[in-house]
Symmetry: C2
Subunit: 245 residues, 2 copies
Amino acid sequence: MVNHAGTFEAEEDFRSLSDSLFEQLSEAIVRGEFSPGAKLSEPRLAARYGVSRGPLREAIRRLEERKLVTRTPRQGVRVIVPSRKRAVELFHIREVLEGLAAREAARHATPDEIEALQAMLRQHGQALARPDAMVYWQARANSDFHFLIARIARNEQLFALLSGEYYTLFRLYRMQHRLVPGRARRALLEHERIVDAIADHDRDLAEMLMRRHIAAARKSLEASMGEEGADQASTACSDLGAGNL
Amino acid sequence: MVNHAGTFEAEEDFRSLSDSLFEQLSEAIVRGEFSPGAKLSEPRLAARYGVSRGPLREAIRRLEERKLVTRTPRQGVRVIVPSRKRAVELFHIREVLEGLAAREAARHATPDEIEALQAMLRQHGQALARPDAMVYWQARANSDFHFLIARIARNEQLFALLSGEYYTLFRLYRMQHRLVPGRARRALLEHERIVDAIADHDRDLAEMLMRRHIAAARKSLEASMGEEGADQASTACSDLGAGNL
DNA sequence: CCGAAAAATTCTGTCGACAAAATGAGAGGA
DNA sequence: TCCTCTCATTTTGTCGACAGAATTTTTCGG
């Protein structure tokens, strides 16, 4: 069995409370259940999830290491406040990392893997005709594509980075950005060209196309978050009486 | 703000025990005080550093997140075992990240920063004539250069990645690799060309030169770790009775 | 003498509790 | 009315303790 992180969970998946909390909190942050900048109170969270503060603190330390929360020494942790600046910086990083993934995928892809990529593209093309194409694309298709490329690249460190450690952050910042009309179809075209380059084992081209693909997404996001200033959460964050825990 | 003693209390750097332990353990692992693969027993470490297991576990969770230790569910954590495969993978990642840093540095560098880079190169050139040139180069000069580039790039996420989160890992794997004779002088030449490109604000060239520079280091390391197999620690790790804590 | 089962020990995962500090509320004075 | 000082409450950082599991040691049979 292969979980979403791509690791083989042959050994009985014993998840400690800390692991479970880490996943739940990550998901909750990405899904916006905690508003940006909201304070995470340890006693309340402990009561909320029915656990002690020990495992909770371990989970929070991991969230902090992944930059999903920020911590001020004697003051506690707060959910990260997405900013246009950070989003752009993150996309620049993602651009080169995914470029490397495409390059290494072009280097190592087997015929079977190339076929798998092409099959996925066909499926995505069919899905694009459905009514909920946009939401599906943003939620699943895009992730599937980049996930598979990262796996084919055969670089465990890179795979862990793209599909695990940074994946949540990417999702968090992608949530901000509603897909512009027509972007999905264009993205599929770009995906197809990238797969072509990988099928040809053309490393340089695969990397260049992937970088342009990510750069296009970044520019779309930059335009979307256009004039919202450094921290768009200056309007609604800090403390909303009810929603923060 | 000025306190009653008249000194500026610039957010007095309060470090929790967890933070302190995290730094100490990271340093100890990189410096080889814990042999690769050695088990880290929580009670012994707690006694060793005179702290409780609570903060220690938080520090260990952060070490785990940074891949300095590996954790098996009901079995504890062990120091990572450096392998040729992982080292090569890490250098591929570093290649594109430092390439991005050079690109962004070429984009954003001010005249002052360019002058600082050139001054540092002059200093490194003089240091290269000293008797302990090699060890100095590996210990300081190389880090200084890449550190400064990352700062000039003006990408906080990238800077945190290169000079913080991944820096320890890079050091760990670099420890394995003794600098080959003549490499230092060649590296300095490569550094000079990179700075030239940055001074010219030639983004593409700066990125390309930096990537070649890292790739050269990687190839040198690949040759050095040549035939040592996947896990060179198969000879001496596991448990050496005295040295593990 | 060697191998296997059983007991003892150690260790991980988790919990509740305490002290210092920070936040917030409330009284008092200008 | 508004500011400030004081006090109460919440929260962070830390510690010691317990249950279950894993490891090691001991013991017993072949």
